[in-house]
């Protein structure tokens, strides 16, 4: 009796899986006849869930904007997959998206998920456009369908160091990172560049992801009294408690952070402790009509996060290319992608041969509870 029950349950489970896939395939087969499927990949659960949702919402907003324009090619569907920033889940989700006949994937967030997920996707001739992974390696592996809408870590570190030497006239610097592909890569770049530009690196400490107590490290920083304290953390949720504790410790150094901590919730969480913090961030002119259009479309998802606009632009870029190519054929779309030249919400969109779209980092400062453009490394002048 029992054995039979078990057997039954196994069969049931197995058929569940098979049927689950089969059903989806049918549905998607229909969908691919009827339109375009775009996948989004990012951490919807786990530690970085907030950022993953920003990306997903950015893609959703873009689809909404583009859908009326797609004509016979439409409608555009979104298949949002969760990778939890875990390489294994990222690869599984990528394979699922291949199955679902997605023609482009917007994502992922963590460089450590983007890189492995790109292998099967690119092999299946699916476009992968990352709005958030700034690690250099992402686009430097000679992958034909890999694009990046955000900037690169090496450019970002140049802007940061230039700001410290030219504008802040600082002599000493202390670096802390939380050891992700992104945050540590950036911090290492800063350390190298700083040494060659005459900045003295007093220390470079690493904390672990998910830590909330930085008191031990901050005590060290306080004792070292650097001119600038460079904070390279994976996201705003880690940065907020850091800023609070910096305030509580009474550390007087200037604080410079990077683009991952850019998020409205940083100010919401750290409140007055966030005041006066500098950060490098891709220059976005929020007065352009393109940005306004994005902001309107995004309104229902709340305040845009750090990568919402990049995700939005990535989606728009792909759909524009599809529209121009008249089909989703990868070769044709790729040719159109390279021809793109338009004003996006985040920046001017033009992809280069390796898939990068260029960086335009500026220095922002948090002032009166807002991210405000502060200094432009291009001309060494303050924003008005």
């Amino acid at each position: 009796m029992k054995r039979a029950l078990y057997l039954l349950s196994v069969l049931l489970l197995a058929s569940f899986v098979v049927a689950g896939c089969g059903k989806k395939d049918e549905k998607k087969a229909e969908a691919s006849k009827a339109g375009i499927t775009i996948g989004s990949l990012g951490p919807l659960t786990g530690q970085y869930a907030a950022d993953g949702n920003d990306i997903k919402n950015g893609v959703l907003a873009a689809i909404e904007v583009m859908n009326p324009e797609m004509g016979a090619q439409g409608p555009v569907n979104l298949q949002a997959e969760d990778d939890a920033c875990d390489p294994r889940q990222a690869v599984a989700a990528a394979n699922k998206l291949i199955n679902e006949k997605a023609t482009a994937v917007i994502g992922a967030y963590c460089s450590s998920a983007t890189i492995p997920a790109s292998e099967p996707l690119i092999a299946a001739k699916i476009f992968m456009i990352t709005p958030a992974s700034t690690n250099e390696k992402v686009t430097e592996r000679g992958m034909p369908y890999m694009f990046r809408t955000c900037g690169r870590d090496d450019d970002q570190s140049k802007a940061a160091v230039k700001f410290m030497t030219d504008q802040l006239k600082s002599k000493t610097i202390y670096i802390v990172d939380d050891k992700t592909t992104y945050s540590q890569g950036l911090a290492d770049n800063i350390e190298k560049l700083a040494a060659s530009s005459g900045l003295k690196v007093l220390g470079h400490e690493h904390v672990n992801q998910g830590d909330k107590d930085y008191s031990a490290v901050l005590t060290k920083v306080k004792a070292a009294k650097p001119d600038v304290f460079y904070v390279s953390l994976q996201n705003s949720a880690s940065a907020a408690p850091m800023l609070i504790q910096i305030g509580r410790m009474g550390i007087k150094s200037k604080i410079l952070a990077q683009d991952a901590v850019y998020h409205p919730q940083l100010i919401e969480l750290a409140k007055k402790d966030a005041e006066g913090v500098f950060l490098t961030f891709g220059y976005t002119d929020k007065t352009t009509p393109a940005y306004q259009k994005f902001a309107d479309a995004y309104k229902k998802y709340g305040e845009p996060g750090a990568y919402s606009a990049y995700a939005y632009d990535s989606t728009i870029a792909y759909l524009k290319a599809v529209k121009a190519a008249g089909s989703t054929d990868p070769e044709k779309v790729k040719a159109e992608m390279m021809k793109l030249d338009f004003d996006g919400a985040s920046k001017h969109m033009k992809y280069r041969e390796n898939g990068d779209s260029g960086s335009n980092y500026v220095i922002q400062v948090i002032k009166d509870g807002k991210f405000t453009n502060y200094w432009n490394p291009e001309n060494g002048e303050l924003f008005k």
Binding site: T45, P87, N95
Partner: protein
């Protein structure tokens, strides 16, 4: 009967009131003021669903479904009788045949899930040696998986060693790690063992995460070669990379079958019985001349070997490894497979792996609710089948449990 029924409904009322008290503050207290609508909407749905379940249960207790359950029961009994007549080798052959032809009629995504399941079956069976057979609770098992994966990753990237050569190398490295971890834990019992193994698992992960010069830290190791093979293409032997999902599926299937056979043989060997003796009563085993220290070390080492094998394959399949794949929650998942399936039982562990890997994939449709449902189902499965889905036939309590 009526007394029981009224008690049931009284319990229901209390439970629902309690549930609302827990739910409302989460949804209803806002800085702007108090509101009840959102929480009440969810609550009423749950309350109705629970009431329906309760009514069905009562009706079933009253025997109203007998017309339905009786025949199904009879059919079930007949089926099980028929099943018992089928020789074991035949049913095994059928299962194996199904596994072999599986890729022919399924899609890429199903292959991917199936590969994951097979990897976890190996892991589960490996952990089963430690937990199920020898009765040592191990919360850091995924460390061996990591050791295996990184062994192959580094050997492949730096020295270009082939997958097949690295399988035994990684297995022996893992076994070594097993002994290292096992040694200091030998004196501990029960839950002290659990925390120490957990600690070791975390240490391995943190070291991998921070030893930049060796492991490239959190960036992971890229560019790992898939398994290679020589293929006779008519004229000469040609070297090909087996990086298609179907090919990888057959490799891991072979590894899994090997693992099942090995664990099966182990179960009925002298060593297997020694494990059992240690599990049931360590002191008595010692008095009977079992060298418990050696046996425990052996259990750790053997368990680690399979972890290492699975890890090697994992690295080759992903062509990328990073420390994030070896966190505590992964250890907990593997343990969950073993316990959920039925400790010490090979088909149980297989079933557990299928359930725990396939379920989240089945629930992918729920999106955000996926892990929420998964956690609930996991607890519910334990409550309704505390001995596991397919319990082992001979299995007593762990020796520490009887105090």
């Amino acid at each position: 009967m009526t007394i029981r029924a009224s008690k049931l409904w009284f319990g229901y009322a209390v439970a629902m009131a309690w549930f609302y008290v827990l739910l409302w503050p989460l949804l209803g207290i806002k800085a702007a003021g108090l509101e009840f609508a959102a929480s009440f909407a969810i609550w009423s749905k749950v309350a109705v669903a629970a009431a329906i379940c309760l009514v069905l249960y009562q009706v079933k207790q009253a025997g109203a479904f007998n017309f339905l359950t009786k025949p199904t029961e009879r059919v079930g009994e007949a089926a099980s009788a028929a099943f018992r007549r089928v020789p074991t080798w035949l049913s095994l052959a059928v299962v194996l045949a199904l596994a072999v032809i599986f890729p022919l009629f399924t899609e890429r995504y199903a292959h991917d899930v199936a590969i994951s399941i097979l990897v976890y079956i190996i892991l589960g069976l490996g952990l089963n040696i430690v937990v199920g057979m020898a009765g040592l609770l191990d919360l850091g098992y995924i460390a061996f998986f990591g050791v295996g994966a990184y062994t192959y990753a580094l050997l492949s990237v730096h020295f270009g060693l082939s997958f097949w050569l690295c399988l035994p190398i990684a297995a022996s490295f893992s076994a070594l790690a097993g002994c290292l971890i096992g040694y200091p834990t030998l004196r501990m019992r029960g839950d002290y063992l659990a925390i120490v193994t957990l600690g070791f698992g975390e240490i391995v992960r943190i070291v991998i995460n921070n030893w930049m010069s060796l492991t490239n830290g959190p960036n992971g190791v890229l560019g790992i070669k898939p398994p290679g093979a020589y293929w006779f293409n008519g004229a000469s032997l040609e070297h090909v990379w087996l990086n298609h999902l179907e090919q990888l599926y057959y490799i891991i299937l072979a590894l899994a079958v090997f693992t099942v056979l090995a664990v099966y043989r182990l179960n009925y060997s002298r060593i297997g019985r020694a494990f059992e003796a240690v599990r049931e009563d360590q002191t008595a085993a010692e008095l009977m001349g079992v060298n418990t220290l050696r046996i425990k070390l052996l259990a750790y080492a053997l368990g680690a070997v399979f972890g290492g094998l699975a890890g090697t394959f994992f690295a080759a399949r992903m062509q990328f490894v990073s420390p994030e794949s070896f966190t505590f929650i992964e250890s907990a998942m593997v343990l969950a497979m073993v316990v959920l399936g039925g400790m010490g039982s090979i088909p149980g562990v297989i079933l557990g792996a299928v359930a725990l890997i396939a379920l989240p994939e089945v629930f992918r449709g729920f999106e955000l609710y996926r892990m929420f449902v998964f956690g609930g189902v996991m607890a519910a499965m334990m409550i309704f089948r505390p001995k596991g889905l397919w319990p082992a036939k001979r299995l007593g309590a762990r020796s520490e449990e009887r105090e």
